[in-house]
Amino acid sequence: MIAAIEPSWYLILAALLFSVGAVGLLIRRNPLVMFMCIELMLNAANLTFVALAIKLGDINGQTAVFFVMVVAAAEVVVGLSIIVSILRRKPGATADDLAELKG
């Protein structure tokens, strides 16, 4: 089952997904959509971990994905609450409008 598709193909797919996420993070201005692009990049890293777990025959890669998912869940919860508290103060703000911490 594993033999037909090389692990490199999954790695290249992950590289494409990571790049799409990085470009999206640069071109979008809505904080929520920028956050979704970060999720895309995290998923690309997860795909890389699983592909290399198959290639090296090591279960630790899949364990790492489990921890990445836990950290991603915590990160999304805290990040969305920060976005909620910012947008409650400034409705409709984009990333360019958020310069409140600037000295």
Partner: protein, 200 residues
């Protein structure tokens, strides 16, 4: 039907789901549609996990990402009322999009070159792990989850305990961040009433 053909079909169908959803996330104007593109990408990733015999991670991917995180995104979009379409034709910084496209192409080519080059590299013998149970090879359909559990609760038990601390901190931080503080509210009310005069 040939098994190899089916594998290629699954891989390319799931890859199309992943990349189509990702491009939808970064191009669609409405944040709700972007969140739905994210769901498509996450399901495609889950299919790729199943194709690589990581069955437990595929289930967790659906439950945690598609079930919890995307719902949280949609909930925040609805809560804030930012589900109106944004005008994407406005570019705050003029040269940013061409530069971002060039950076994306460069990143893809750099990573692809590294993957192609590393593919022919020999794997060091001591880099090989304990071995991975592959369900279609061993015939044990529960092998993956058992091996993952032994690894998680054996080698990584301390990190696993620390994730519980992390989740508690995240929940406490969220409550603190989104709570409306009564004292600040009174100060804000006092400030607005003194500036706006007898508007109330």
């Amino acid at each position: 039907m040939d098994t190899t053909f089916l594998e290629y079909l699954v891989f390319f169908a799931a890859a199309a789901m992943v990349l189509g959803g990702a491009i939808g996330v970064i191009t669609l104007k409405n944040p709700v549609h972007a969140a739905l593109g994210l769901v498509l990408t996450l399901f495609g990733i889950a299919v790729q996990f199943v194709a690589q015999e990581a069955h437990f991670l595929a289930a967790v991917q659906i439950i945690v990402y598609a079930g919890a995180i995307v719902v949280l995104f949609l909930f925040v979009i609805m809560l804030l009322g930012v589900d109106n379409a944004m005008d994407l034709s406005i570019e705050p910084i003029k040269v940013q999009r061409p530069l971002a496209a060039i950076m994306g192409l460069g990143l893809v080519s750099l990573l692809t070159a590294a993957i192609v080059k590393a593919d022919s590299a020999t794997v060091l013998p001591n880099a090989i792990g304990d071995g991975l149970d592959i369900a279609t090879v061993t015939g044990d359909s529960d092998g993956n989850i058992q091996q993952l559990a032994e690894n998680l609760y054996g080698d990584h038990i301390f990190a696993f305990e620390l994730t519980s601390v992390l989740l508690i901190v995240a929940v406490a931080g969220t409550v603190v961040l989104t709570r409306k503080w009564p004292r600040n509210q009174e100060i804000a009310d006092a400030g607005s009433s003194s500036t706006s005069g007898a508007s109330k």
